[in-house]
């Protein structure tokens, strides 16, 4: 670790600061951002911390530049991050596609606020769940993590760097306005496994930038400033990086880009579950909105209802295997709680052949209270 000052330590801090400190812990040495509520504290924290650890902070002219410069820094060998909110992520959409195509690791934090357009900058929301998944045009897979506590703002930011390096893909952490601003106690870790990107597996003269030798379909990544020459392009390309306009080239490339994430789903997907062994009804929630659910389930079980819950920690790729598991464990009903007009619920509805699906999907700005969820639950069970 470059920073010997970080020791196992408990601190009281905000979600945004915990996220930024997580990035420093993960080895992030480049941050480019543009001010936007409610994420600006991440940039402010990085502006202060990065020079201390030999890193670089830059406030760019807009979000288009912020994310693109992160991919530049990534190809110069640094771990890079940007942070924004919905309107900024809209601007980053274009370059998210570039990052996927160039297979450049980088982490994007989006602290969700209300939308569409300027929406409610100071409020929380979960309405960008589709945006994180489908921001850019074209067929691609992406990894999106959903923290629920300030501790997870720290932990999942570190995990985002690890996944990003391992699979050579931009990883998005989808937090929200409340989580970014609220303060909780966080354990800062010392012994964390940090994953570094795969290096070129052949000498410079044999190197082809998009040739993968392993089962994980991830090519070794050369960086600028070494003896490796390589050409990477946002155009559809072959393993040498040559632009290729044939249908076969499109199929080969897009299949590999998607498959490298699809086959890694068991390693990527993560969730918390409780009482699935006897639950007939399962409440599914994520992010800030999941925080009231354990209390609801506890109350319901005291009243004799067989209720369990799952909390998604990864939103995308969507954990299909969790849906199958819920059905195998015997639940017949899933209730999805989310602070939007129904996004994750549509993914869950793909499994209506396994259980019935209902939802509490409201485009609101405050998380559902346990009382509110409980009252709705009573109508369902």
């Amino acid at each position: 670790m470059s920073n010997a000052k970080i020791q196992e330590k408990r601190i009281l801090t905000s979600g945004n600061a915990a996220c930024a400190e997580g990035a420093i812990t993960a080895g992030c040495l480049y941050f480019a951002g543009y001010p936007i509520t409610p994420s600006s504290e991440i940039a402010a924290y990085m502006a202060k911390r990065l020079p201390q650890v030999n890193g670089t902070f830059i406030q760019m002219e807009d979000e288009l530049a912020s994310i693109t410069s992160c991919f530049g820094a990534s190809y110069a060998g640094k771990k890079a991050m940007t942070a924004t909110s919905g309107p900024g992520l809209s601007l980053m959409a274009e370059s998210i596609g570039l990052g996927v195509m160039l297979e450049a690791p980088a982490v994007i934090i989006t602290v969700m606020r209300g939308g569409p357009s300027t929406g409610q900058p100071t409020n929380a929301s979960q309405s960008d769940v589709y945006q994180t998944r489908y921001a850019s045009h074209g067929d691609y897979e992406i990894i999106v993590l959903a923290p629920s506590t300030v501790q997870e703002m720290y932990d999942l930011t570190i995990r985002a760097f690890n996944l990003s390096e391992k699979y050579r893909i931009p990883v998005i952490v989808a937090a929200d306005g409340i989580l970014g601003q609220m303060m909780e106690v966080v354990n800062l870790h010392t012994n964390i496994e940090l994953i570094e990107r795969k290096k070129p597996q052949v000498p410079p003269e044999d190197y082809k930038p998009f040739e993968s030798f392993d089962d994980d379909l991830v090519p070794g990544m050369a960086i600028a400033g070494t003896n490796y020459s390589f050409y990477v392009t946002g155009l559809t390309h072959d393993i040498e990086g040559n632009p290729q306009m044939t249908p076969e080239a499109a199929e080969t490339l897009i299949k590999r880009l998607c498959d490298k994430i699809k086959i890694a789903r068991p390693q990527i997907n993560d969730w918390e579950e409780k009482h699935l062994d006897d639950a007939e009804t399962v409440i599914l929630a994520y992010g800030i909105n999941a925080r009231g659910v354990p209390e609801v389930v506890k109350q319901a079980r005291q009243e004799g209802f067989k209720v369990g819950y799952v909390r998604l920690k990864t939103l995308w790729p969507f954990p299909d295997e969790l849906m199958e598991r819920i059905a195998q464990m015997g639940a017949s009903k899933v209730i999805v709680c989310e602070m939007n007009n129904g996004m994750i619920i549509r993914e869950v509805q793909r499994f209506r052949h396994l259980f019935t699906v209902s939802g509490i999907t409201i485009p609101t700005t405050i998380p559902f209270s346990p009382k509110f969820i409980y009252e709705r639950l009573l109508k369902e069970v």
Partner: protein
């Protein structure tokens, strides 16, 4: 870009003098286009300076010139439309030892990427930016560009362009660029002298290279074929010494294009300044070892 004009390299062709530094199979430019001349000019300079592919990186955007990065045997990045400069900014700041060269067109750098250009110039970040100006969007079929002159016919100005163009030299100078020059693409000697100065300048350097597009611009405005257009350009070019950016007239109607060096000054570059901040911060940190501020 006219695909039917793509050059094919016969296998028995004599070896190119820069073969070690160029990917000849990625030269897809129309015969008569000066993009290739600019690429070889850059490569010649890099070679003469003894720089190898671990010392530099090439970044381009989208368009005809966007395809130029692939011609270099080096870390070369073909990014999205208008974003070459931000990508290059990240590369440079993450590895300040790299010489980072941005090579892109007038539409890419000054329409969709205009904001990035002025801010990079304002920061005086150590990048070399070459704009290959053909006064039109060539790749997409010849639409009006921010450099198209008033009255010119393009695909999207069939009755003549009514918008005044940017003067790229005065724009770059006003934004804070510490080296600004304009050369016709055929004048490779002066162009290469300029490229050397850019490589040595520890700040934001900009060269506008005039490279007429006979396929899109010439045909629509009845300026003839590639050779005739070069003759047409040559008649208008006036090379001046020590002229200011305000005097850098670019006017096809009057037939005057002032070329030369317009800005050449020393100002500390952005990555150097960032390094100074780091040193100051870390020195203070050592001095106040038990700083309580660390996690606030």
């Amino acid at each position: 870009m006219n695909p039917s004009n793509q050059m094919s390299i016969p296998s028995e062709a004599p070896s190119h003098p820069l073969i070690d530094m160029l990917n000849l199979n990625r030269f897809i430019f129309c015969p008569g286009c000066l993009i290739g001349t600019v690429i070889t000019s850059i490569t010649s300079c890099l070679k003469e300076r003894g720089l190898t592919s671990k010392d530099y990186a090439i970044v381009s955007g989208i368009g005809c010139t966007g395809r130029s990065s692939g011609c270099f045997k080096a870390p070369a990045f073909h990014t999205t439309h208008g974003r070459a400069i931000p990508f290059a900014t990240g590369l440079k700041l993450a590895n300040p030892k790299l010489k980072v060269i941005v090579l892109s067109g007038d539409g890419d750098l000054f329409a969709i990427g205009g904001n990035h250009f002025i801010h990079a110039a304002r920061r005086n970040i150590e990048l070399t930016v070459l704009c290959i100006n053909n006064n039109i969007y060539g790749m997409t079929g010849g639409q009006v560009a921010p450099t198209t002159q008033i009255g010119d016919i393009t695909q999207t100005t069939p009755y003549g362009n009514v918008e005044p163009p940017f003067n790229l030299v005065s724009l770059a100078a006003a934004a804070g660029s510490t080296y600004v020059a304009r050369w016709p693409g055929y004048d490779t000697l002066r162009l290469q002298k300029s490229i050397f100065k850019c490589i040595d300048n520890e700040g934001f350097s900009f060269i506008e290279v005039l490279a007429p597009c006979f396929v899109q611009y010439g045909s629509k405005n009845k300026l003839g074929d590639a050779v005739e257009m070069l003759e047409w350009l040559k008649k208008q070019v006036k090379i001046k010494v020590d002229w200011t950016p305000h005097q850098a007239t670019f006017d096809f109607k009057k037939g005057i294009i002032i070329c030369g060096e317009f800005v050449d000054e020393k100002r500390e570059g952005y990555s150097k300044k960032i390094e100074q901040v780091r040193i100051e911060v870390q020195y203070k940190k050592i001095k106040n070892k038990d700083s309580k501020e660390e996690y606030d």
